[in-house]
Every structure is written in structure tokens, then in C-alpha cells.
């Protein structure tokens, strides 16, 4: 029997001790009319049979050459990362409520928090949230609690922020009467202009969201936006890519003291680039960091270093008075878990790469994207959409609808990017592409060659 160790003899002795005739007698408190009867699910398969089924389905999906980013980024994952992460002692442990029997997980989370503070240049980090999109939703709710200078629940959400994040923030935070105000982006530069937020000067606004790099891969002028926000008593929520932080100014140093204080107030983002595979969209993890003054407004688990009764250092979950199992309806969030296993992977990844390795990953990704944009832009009918400086993603404009082109590329085993037609119809035939350090010259040449062929064939057919 699948995973059930009981022998017939075990069952007989256990039933005898309980004092019932059969296992079904143990369910005698369930009203008989509710009995489910036989389940309409397939019969059991052996591990070999399931392995065959899954391998066939996986093989059918193939291994295309991928040039999409849009919130999930393909990077090399060092072999030790998942070899250690899937050790049973990490994989099959629960939330470290029993601190003495969970020091491994707890110390690892403390190390993770330390690394995220270093990367973001913030004072405190939590133990992670579900993913980047839901982390932004939680950051918006947190900003409402933290910004006591204003009584409104308005959040400025630029259109250059990942549109799915905006959808998720609306779905999760919208039930608490939070109003999201849209801020447009500059069509030429592909970034959010100071002029676009200035109409809100002097108004009651809770927070401004700044994504760096933004959804188009463009770099925002984070300093002037941060200073403007702080001058208007508006908190800054930074949405950042952790890989980029090896290269880009960390949110804790955005702006100057002229706005009152330097740096973003809440930092969040998608942790997936740190050693987590694309895996059809999850599990990933969201990260969140903030200033010490807002730590009690932060959702999610937090690990602290303390001492035991003998004065030896040790780690435990702390500030639990914020959480649902203590505060119930007054909790900062209903969240219980973090994404522990993914944090394990990320901590191992950051340890292996270090600042020098991560900087190389960031620089190589930036370079490969520049190479890709250059190679594709040489093709007739393809040009870059925006002028702003970029990190590792870019919008290209085609001279014809993107969807058929992507379908033709897919037939050649190339996932050529994300069609922005639905998300940003005003951009025309816009295609979002990404290349990381995993893309070699031969990959970029293959993409450029295929795209040139497809566009030419399409032109000839017209």
C-alpha cells in the first residue's frame, strides 16, 4: 500500500486496543448519509509508471531557447544549490516553531535576512513572502499602516511597474479600500517622469511605487522620484530585481537627505533570480525589507538572534505579536508561512556567488541584452522602443503584429519574448525581450537569424 506501513497484524492489534471491529468503525460519528462512496479518480500507479508518464509529458514540452524575462529570469543555478536545498532536513522540516530543534533553518534565515539587508541597503528584512507580486500587495498594505502622516489610502502606481503586479496589488489590497492612482510613462524614454507625479504634490498620498529596473527594463531616475515623494510625506515602495542590486544603486541609498531622509521606505521584489528555476512560474519567493522604525508594521516571519539560558547564541522567530496566530483579526497580514525552501536555495546561491559573482552575473546579463538588442535591431522592421538606459530587458518595436512572429519562432524552438499588445496596446507592435548570462553568442545569432527569416517570409507573403 502506498506509503502505509501497517501489516495486517498491526491493524488487528491496534483495532483491538482501540476496542472497535474495523477501521470504518472509527468514522461512526460521521452521519451515514454523507458517505462519499467510491472516488472517481484514476487507479494507483507505481513510481515507475508515474515516472514514465511525467517524463513523456515533460519531453513533449521540450526545452526551447528562452528570451522572456518579464518578472522571471533564467540564470545559471550552481549545482550545490538544489543538491543541498532538497536534503530532507531542509525539505521535510516545518516552520521552526520549536526553535531548539530548528536551529539550522533559523540560522539560515538569519543569514538570508543579513544578505538581503546588504543587497538592498536596508536595516531589516523579513523571512520572505509568497512571490514578488504578492509582496508588492503586502507592501502597499504595510505602507498604509506605516505612513501616519497622511490619512488617505492612495498609492501611486506607475504604468511602468509590472502590470501583473498591479493586478495582484489591486486584487489583494483592493478589499481594504486602497485606491491605486495610475502614473503614465514617457513614450520616448520608457520611464516614469518627475512631471508625471508632480500633479500629486501637496496631496494626501500614502506611497509611491518605483520599480527599478521597470517592467520595460528601463532604469528609472530613482533619486529625483524618491526626493519628490519624501518632500510630499509620501513613502517610497521600491520594487527591485535582486540580481541588479550588485550593480545598481541599492534602494536604501535612493535620493538624498533633502527630502527628509535618504532611501526607499519599503523594498520588495521577486527573489526568483537568486537560484530558483523558472519552473512554469513557481514556487518563487517574495522578499521585503524596510527601515527599523517600520519593523512592527512588516508582515511575515522574522528571525532574531538571541541567547539561550546558558548564554550561548541561538536563533528564534521573533516579533510574533504582529502575526495571525497571536493577533488574529488585528494581524499585519493573514500570512503564515514564508517560502522557506526557496529562501534556502537563495541563501546558498548568494553565498556561492558573493558580491563579485553576482556583479558578474548582473554585468553579463546587461551585456547580453545589449548584444541581443543590437543584433535584432539590425534586422529590417525591428527597432528599440525606448531611449532610457537599461538593465537586462528591452522593448523592441516590430513593423507587424507580434503574435504570429512569436508563433513562428516557437515552431523553431525559440521563445522570442513577451508580446505587449494586450498589456500596452498604445505601444503598437511591442515585444519585450531579455537575455541573461545564460545566452551565448550562438543563441543570439540563432534568434536573430530566425527572426530575420520569419520577417522576410512574412513580408514576401504580404
Amino acid at each position: 500500500m502506498a506509503f502505509i506501513p501497517h501489516t495486517a497484524d498491526d491493524v488487528a492489534r491496534m483495532l483491538e486496543l482501540i476496542g472497535v471491529q474495523s477501521i470504518d468503525d472509527l468514522f461512526d460519528e460521521i452521519p451515514a448519509e454523507l458517505n462519499a462512496g467510491a472516488l472517481g479518480v484514476p487507479p494507483s500507479l507505481s513510481e515507475m509508471e508515474v515516472g514514465r508518464l511525467l517524463s513523456e509529458r515533460a519531453a513533449g514540452d521540450g526545452r526551447p531557447l528562452n528570451f522572456i524575462g518579464a518578472g522571471a529570469y533564467e540564470h545559471h543555478i550552481p549545482a550545490p544549490v538544489w543538491a543541498i536545498t532538497t536534503r530532507g532536513e531542509f525539505y521535510s522540516a516545518y516552520t521552526p516553531y520549536q526553535a531548539e530543534a530548528s536551529q539550522g533553518t533559523l540560522q539560515l534565515i538569519y543569514e538570508y535576512q543579513s544578505m538581503m539587508c546588504a543587497l538592498t541597503s536596508m536595516e531589516v528584512s523579513n523571512a520572505s513572502l509568497y512571490d514578488g507580486a504578492s509582496a508588492l500587495a503586502e507592501a502597499c498594505l504595510m505602507a498604509v499602516r506605516a505612513n501616519r502622516a497622511v490619512s488617505s489610502r492612495r498609492i501611486l502606481l506607475p504604468r511602468a511597474v509590472n502590470p501583473t503586479y498591479a493586478q495582484v496589488a489591486r486584487a489583494i489590497a483592493g478589499n481594504q479600500d486602497i485606491v491605486f492612482e495610475t502614473v503614465d510613462f514617457d513614450r520616448a524614454a520608457g520611464r516614469t517622469l518627475l512631471e508625471s507625479v508632480q500633479p500629486f504634490s501637496g496631496q494626501e498620498v500614502t506611497a509611491l511605487v518605483i520599480q527599478q529596473p521597470n517592467f520595460f527594463g528601463s532604469l528609472e531616475e530613482v533619486d529625483e522620484l524618491t526626493d519628490w515623494a519624501h518632500q510630499n510625506k509620501i513613502l517610497v515602495i521600491a520594487v527591485v530585481n535582486p540580481t541588479s542590486l550588485a550593480l545598481l544603486k541599492p534602494p536604501g541609498q535612493w535620493g538624498s537627505a533633502t527630502g527628509g531622509h535618504q532611501g526607499a521606505d519599503i523594498v520588495c521584489g521577486e527573489g526568483q533570480p537568486l537560484g530558483v528555476p523558472l519552473a512554469s512560474g513557481g514556487p518563487y519567493f517574495g522578499f521585503m525589507a524596510t527601515r527599523m522604525q517600520y519593523v512592527r508594521q512588516m508582515p511575515g516571519r522574522i528571525v532574531g538572534r538571541t541567547v539561550d539560558v546558558e548564554g550561548r547564541p541561538g536563533f528564534s522567530l521573533t516579533l510574533q505579536a504582529r502575526e495571525q496566530h497571536i493577533r488574529r483579526s488585528k494581524a499585519t497580514s493573514n500570512i503564515c508561512t514564508n517560502q522557506g525552501l526557496l529562501v534556502t536555495a537563495a541563501t546558498i546561491y548568494m553565498s556561492l556567488l558573493g558580491a563579485a559573482g553576482l556583479e558578474r552575473v548582473a554585468a553579463a546579463s546587461l551585456q547580453r541584452t545589449a548584444d541581443l538588442v543590437a543584433a535584432l535591431s539590425r534586422i529590417a522592421g525591428v527597432r528599440p522602443a525606448f531611449t532610457a538606459a537599461r538593465f537586462h530587458e528591452a522593448v523592441l518595436l516590430l513593423d507587424r503584429p507580434v503574435a504570429p512572429v512569436l508563433a513562428a519562432l516557437a515552431r523553431r524552438g525559440i521563445v522570442g519574448g513577451l508580446d505587449l499588445a494586450e498589456r500596452y496596446p498604445e505601444l503598437g507592435h511591442a515585444l519585450l525581450v531579455c537575455a541573461s548570462e545564460t545566452k551565448l553568442d550562438v543563441d543570439i545569432e540563432a534568434y536573430a537569424g530566425a527572426l530575420a527569416d520569419i520577417l522576410q517570409a512574412s513580408r514576401a507573403a504580404a
Partner: protein
Amino acid sequence: MADLQAREPLIFELSRPGRGAGTQFPPRAAGSAQVPAHLRRAKAPTLPEVSELQVVRHFTRLSQMNFSIDTHFYPLGSCTMKYNPKACNSFAMLPEFLGRHPLGPEPQGFLACMYELQEMLQEITGMQSVSLTPMAGAQGEFAGVAMIRAYHRARNDAARTEIIVPQAAHGTNPATAAMCGCTVREIPCDANGDIDIDALKAAVGPATAAIMLTNPSTLGVFERKITEVARIVHEAGGLLYYDGANLNAILGKVRPGDMGFDVIHMNLHKTFSTPHGGGGPGSGAVGVGARLRPFLPIPVVGKDGARFRWLTERDLPQSIGRLSGFMGNAGVNLRAYIYMRLLGREGMVRVAQFAALNANYLLKRLQAAGFEAAYPSRRASHEFIITLKRENRLYQITAMDVAKRLLDYGFHAPTTYFPLLVPECLLIEPTETEAKEDLDRFCEAMIAIRREMETEPEKLCSAPHTMPVRRLDDVRAAKQLDLAWKPTA
């Protein structure tokens, strides 16, 4: 006695300038010069500089400071710490699954698995439709309550903002209600653990949005009046929300849809054995009856002829929206799918049967050893509650003391102080995958601890003694916050 790794320095303490895991670094690229100087980072972040072997050894040693299902019996009530089959991880980590970008062309093999998972979950729960998008039980709860609100709003019945929960409800229930802009009304249970029907009748009315129930309840017993509860709430215009925390207890025996529930969230990391991972990732799939189907969170896997595709806002315009950046914890869902195919219909029925057998056996043995059941007149479901209020009075021993002492005996502690309304309680859930010998060893440890209460109570009050650390100063942890390592220089 437990045998864990004693101590391990912080990874930062192993760091030396200039050291690194060089084979993991990509070749140097010029890229950074393209970033305008004022947007560039001035000083490198303080990440460790260590060799690959140091990393491997450090994190391996940290792992050895943990209890886990793979190493220890883990009877943590309400958490369903059953064996996580290795096959589920191996097949979910096939390179084609791992390498797939979520926004690429719709992968038919992967989506076939997800579609079949939705169908199996529908069948098991008696629901009409399932969305796999919520990333944990708490997010599934959020989705459920948000759908209930959307349903009432769509019927111009938006004044229904009150959620009824039993006193023993898990803390997420009231926290979720608050996140959805609802208020909570608690109702008591009677002395046998059933809902107080008169209190329920008095509580329902035109403000009732729904009742949130776990069945079997957090008290470890089946709510016998469930059909009556459903009738009362439905007649008052409210809906029934099933918190699937304890679904393991009834798998294949009784279906929430048949009990009258309109919406359910399932913790796939409990009942369907995906790993707990040291606190996540979970997956909190939601199932709904016909009334709530239009409001399901997106995306959902649909089928056009032979082709699978994601259903989005175009297909479900009344959806409560998206809860994750892509499609939830896809890899967790894949592990649950593999688990369900391994079990099949024969195996699934046995889950509840043997979970109940193990729980009732353990309860009877502990009762025989002198421990007091919180609900002695009731059958245990897949878990049960022991109350140590008498031991507390006699020996000044707390549930926490017993929990900590169990660690010394090599057992993870049961859940303590939940549910809050039973004093000095231990909530014990052995799960179906534990052998009789392991249950017996646990009983013997409890008997030995009971003896220590009488002979050397100080051994309990100061436990654990054999872990990497002794009891930690939680007050200091919360007052003198040390949440991140900082370089001293």
C-alpha cells in the same frame, strides 16, 4: 536521544576577502559601464566570500541542526507531517519542467497534469471547479472569502460583511476576514466540541456573509451537526467556507461539497504531501460550487477540444483577479499531482483510514498511560488533544515543558497551546505514514516523561538538554532586536 550537529559559525564568519566559488562566476563582461554613474552602486554589498566546499559544508551542517520528517517522528497537530515521497520531487524537477518560462507558449504536458489535478481535487472535495493559483493556505482562505464577498456584491447584497467562526478557529480565519474587509463574529462550541447551535441561530442574519469551518474541527473531532449548520447558514443567506486544514481526516470518506460547503481551500502541503520546506512553499488550491465559479482567482486551466490553455480575465470577467505573478506555486502543484497519481483511488481512501487508526490508537495508549483527553467521549479524527491541566496543577509542569522534553527523546513536539481554548494542550497528529513501532516509541517517551514529572520535574522545566541550544530568551529576542549580521569594521 537526538543527535544533532552542535554549532556552526555564521557564513559571514567564514568569509575572507578575495575568496570565492570561481567556477560559478560567468566571464567578466563590460556591461556595467552602460549604467549612468548616478544610478550605479558605489560600494559592493557585504555578501560572504567563501569557497564552494565551505558553502556545501556550512549548509549541510546547518541542515543537521534540524528535525525533519525524514529524520524524526513529527506529530505536529494540524500540520499533517506525513512522508514526502522522493518521487514527487524527482519528477517535478525534470529539466523540461524546471526550464519552462511561465509566459512562454502553453506547455501541453504540464497543463495536462494541472488540468487533471484540478479534476481530481474537484472529485475528492465534491466541488464543481478548482483554481490552483493561491500560493498557501492563507492565500486560499483569502481567495475564498474574497469570492464570497464578490458573490454577495454581484447580487447587490453587499451589506453581508460578517464572517462567523467558532472560537477554536485557526488564527488565519479572523485575519483573512479582516484582509477582505469583513468583521468576525465568534460563536462557542459545546462541551463535546460541537458547534453551539443556539448561538449559531442567534448569530446569523442579514449581515452574515459566511461561516468558516474546519471539519473535523481544530478540536480534533467531527462536527456532527454539519448538515444542520449548513441549513441554518444557507437559510440566512450566508455561504459555507470549508477550511481544508484537516482534509486528511476525511479523504475519500466524506466530501465537503456533500456536507453543504460552497467553497473550500486545500493545503496541498498537508493532505497531498508536498514538502513543508522549513515553512513553505505551500499551495492553497480553492474549490467552489456553481455559485462561486464565476469569481475564481485566475488563471485556471481550461480545455478547448484536446488543447489545454490558461483561462484568464477574458474567460472569467467576474474573477476576484490574480493573486500571484504567474500561476501560483506551479511546482508544488506538480508534486501534489504526482502524489495523487501514486496513491490513486485505492490509496486515497486509505489516507483517512490509517490516519484515523493511528490517531485513535495513540490516543487510547496515552489515555491508558494516564494522560487526559480533552474530549474523552469523542472519536479522534486524524488528530486529538491531550490536556495537561491536571499535571500543571500537581507538578507545575506546562505543555511547553513536555514539548521541549520530547525533543530530548528524539521526537518533534506536538502543537502546543492551540487551540487556545483548551488549557495546557498538546495537539497530536501522527499521520498515516507512521508505523506502529514509532507510535509505540512515542508513547514510551511520553510515559517516561510522565514519570519524570513526579521524580525530577526540574528536568522538564529546563528541557531540552540535548539540542544545539537550550531554551532561548525570546523576550530578549524581541526587545534587543538583532535581525541581521553587520560587519564590525
